[in-house]
């Protein structure tokens, strides 16, 4: 059956790749939307410049006869700065998109590209998050708060339009050497500021796996919420050693502010809320992805990180011959 898929946030390189992957199906038409022009080649994807924070999105839905909406215009896709603009796009953008979907007669499927940030990050967390778990702390502000609200609106939409298949993908941190990601820009620092006395367990998602899951969710019916992450765990200290970068232990109280400041000096930017992830870590259970969704991630966390590390400039300790 021929489909028309609308992909939001297509200016982000990861989303652009996902849009192209969806467009690979022979009779599928993909319409990509964003406020800025994508830096990457979109191939056969049709690009419409529109702001999802305005009702114009419903016109796009109607004109293009869209039956699947892949809402990817959320911050995990891009290493975006803090501030109210991000919140506007995350929360107001999602509200407008869902409002348009609710009005539309053609939309049959909605895919939300959410983030594992919805679980927050705190010392009271279980070691491994299942889809049924809720945040126990760390969602009071920043992106985590936005994403909790966004998922709330999406659940509300699913309740009001039970005929629409809603898939929520809670994705772990993307990591790619080819385009900026939240933790990618953190690991690009020459010295890694870390919270003193904490060693977070991290999980990464290979863009190939992420794109494949998004494409399948956009072209097949997979109602429900799914965690998406590479298998296994990497400790923050271990990651620093693989990169050969010295760590800079900072006091855990006020770590967020100092992290932002030191990263700024080193010429990179960190997203708000990342300091909690770097302190307490977060691990996802991907059993539902394997058994219900039917997709097994091809790249483990360790493989993804090594792939990323190989293409990064060698760290200071590797250059000096201390390690590696």
């Amino acid at each position: 059956m021929a489909q028309v898929v609308l992909v939001t946030g297509a200016a982000a390189p990861g989303v652009a790749l996902a849009a192209r992957r969806i467009a690979e199906a022979p009779d599928d038409k993909v319409v990509a939307v964003d406020t800025t022009l994508p830096s990457d080649d979109l191939g056969s994807v049709k690009f419409v410049r529109a702001d999802i924070r305005t009702p114009v999105i419903s016109k796009v839905l109607a004109v293009e006869d869209v039956d699947t909406v892949a809402h990817m215009d959320l911050a995990p896709m891009r290493a975006r700065g803090s501030g109210s603009a991000t919140k506007e796009i995350n929360v107001i953008g999602t509200m407008q998109v869902l409002a348009a979907c609710q009005r539309s007669d053609t939309v049959r499927r909605v895919v939300l590209g959410s983030s594992s940030a919805v679980y927050g990050s705190s010392p009271r967390d279980p070691a491994v998050f299942k889809e049924s778990d809720t945040a126990r702390g760390g969602t009071a502000s920043g992106f985590a708060k936005d994403i909790v609200e966004v998922e709330g609106y999406t659940r509300g939409f699913a309740r009001r339009r039970p005929d629409v298949c809603v898939t929520t993908l809670r994705m772990a941190q993307w990591l790619s050497p080819h385009f900026p990601t939240v933790l990618g820009s953190y690991f690009a620092n020459p010295v890694l500021p870390v919270p003193m006395g904490f060693d977070a367990r991290l999980q990464f998602l290979h863009p190939q796996d992420a794109i494949e899951v998004i494409a399948r969710a956009a072209t097949e019916d997979h109602p429900g919420t799914f965690n998406v992450a590479g298998d296994g765990v990497i400790m923050l200290s271990q990651a620093a050693r693989i990169l050969g970068k010295p760590t800079l232990p900072l006091p855990p109280i006020g770590f967020g502010a100092i992290l932002r400041r030191t990263s700024h000096y080193m010429g990179s930017d960190v997203s708000p809320g990342v300091h909690r992830l770097l302190t307490y870590g977060r691990v996802l259970d991907t059993t539902a992805l394997r058994e219900i969704f039917g997709y097994t991630p091809q790249h483990s966390t360790h493989e993804t990180f090594e792939w990323f590390a190989e293409r990064l400039r060698p760290g200071l300790l590797h250059v000096l011959g201390v390690t590696g």
């Binding site: 010392p123 009271r124 967390d125 279980p126 070691a127 491994v128 299942k130 778990d133 919270p195 003193m196 006395g197 904490f198 060693d199 367990r201 296994g232 765990v233 990497i234 400790m235 271990q238 990651a239 620093a240 050693r241 693989i242 990169l243 855990p252 307490y280 870590g281 691990v283 360790h302 201390v322 390690t323 590696g324």
Partner: protein, 382 residues
């Protein structure tokens, strides 16, 4: 004076001077300072004679040369250092090092050293695996090495009923908690690892994971938060989880209430074990109560710092860091007979009355065992 300047009629000896008593400056520099050194070392000479040890004489010669280098102003800068290096043979040093290493680490010391260096390199390169809870087996090995002298020599640990721990499959260890600082968890982990050959997965309070360093080490040794999700995940995957259901009520109770079990939480551990259909093994730990006898508390400061209590023991904070040394009490850990939960259906985990009954049963078992062990142990320190 120049050393190549030789006077005529001195039978090849340079300079002037009465041969025996005071050689000329040139003679002194030619002879490499030996003359003066010998004179200065007259008092040492008999001692040297009594011990004709080759190493000793080598050393003495080296010292002489060094002195000569110090005393000579201008001449022969090159000569003495050459002789000095010839005296300390690098092969000797290597042989001595090898012998020392052999004494320290046994005959296969080379393999040991290369293994340690290899492991260190691997760790530094980040080439190791941790499980999803953060358990790092190599850190656990290291920890066992550190805890062994504490458990065996300091606490003189006795372990009983180790056969009650299943060789494989999940089980839930339930133990009494005491000792102001959770050393009992560390020692229980050591005992199970040594005698049953299995790693335990302690379930700790969220405070453990909030504290810097403590939480980091706890995660690496396999601990995780005491919550239903983690307990069930561990038990259903066949791990050996361990809980101390008394929590802070048990560990922070005053010394006067030692070995009196507190309330066993809300019985959440029983429901986790029932859902996973694994046996509950009661563990009675005697000895932990005496390591830091808690005789006081500063509740206001504890509230300020967000801690459950600030301990005052007879030696802490009176002696400062010295007060952190645990008292050498005698320890006995007894693993009791497993209480089976697979006789109940998994739905029984939702029956609160049953949970209370099983909780009480576990608690009573541990309390009775504690009393028996205390009578048997007698004096806690001797």
């Amino acid at each position: 004076m120049k050393d190549d300047l030789k006077g005529i009629g001195t039978s090849g000896r340079p300079g002037r001077g009465s041969k025996a008593g005071s050689p000329s400056q040139a003679a002194r520099s030619l002879a490499g300072g030996a003359g003066r050194a010998r004179g200065a070392r007259k008092a040492d000479a008999p001692i040297d004679a009594r011990r004709p040890d080759p190493v000793e004489t080598d050393e003495a010669a080296a010292r002489r040369h060094l002195r000569a280098v110090d005393e000579d102003e201008a001449p022969n800068r090159e000569e003495p250092p050459q002789e000095a290096t010839a005296d300390i043979d690098p092969e000797d040093v290597a042989a001595a090092f090898a012998e020392g290493a052999q004494r320290l680490m046994g005959t296969d010391w080379q393999a040991t050293v290369s293994a340690v260096v290899g492991q260190l390199r691997r760790r530094l390169a980040g080439n190791y695996q941790v499980d999803e809870f953060g358990l790092d087996p190599e850190v656990l090995d290291l920890l066992a090495l550190l805890v062994e002298p504490l458990a065996e020599s300091w606490f003189r640990l006795q372990v009983r009923g180790i056969e009650n721990i299943p060789a494989e499959g999940g089980a839930l260890l339930v133990a009494n908690h005491s000792g102001t600082i959770p050393v009992d968890g560390l020692i229980t982990g050591y005992a199970v690892r040594k005698y049953a050959g299995r790693a335990i997965r302690p379930l700790g309070a969220d405070l453990v994971f909030r504290l810097p360093y403590v939480g980091q080490v706890a995660r690496k040794m396999g601990a995780t938060l005491a919550c239903a999700e983690d307990a069930e995940r561990l038990l259903t995957t066949g791990e050996l989880a361990a809980v101390w259901p008394e929590g802070f009520k048990g560990i922070g109770k005053p010394f006067s209430e030692r070995y009196k079990l507190q309330r066993f939480g809300r019985g959440g551990f029983v429901s986790s074990a029932m859902r996973a259909q694994v046996p509950i093994i009661p563990v009675s730990i005697v000895g932990a109560e005496e390591i830091y006898p808690l005789i006081g508390n500063i509740p206001s400061l504890a509230r300020l710092l967000g801690l459950p209590y600030i301990p005052i023991t007879p030696f802490f904070p009176l002696l400062g860091p010295l007060g952190l040394i645990p008292l050498p009490s005698k320890w006995i850990i007894e693993f009791g007979e497993p209480i089976r939960t697979d006789a109940y259906p998994p739905e029984a985990a939702d029956d609160p009355m049953l949970l209370f009954n099983v909780t009480d049963q576990v608690r009573e078992t541990i309390q009775q065992t504690l009393y028996n062990l205390l009578v048997e142990r007698g004096n806690p320190f001797v």
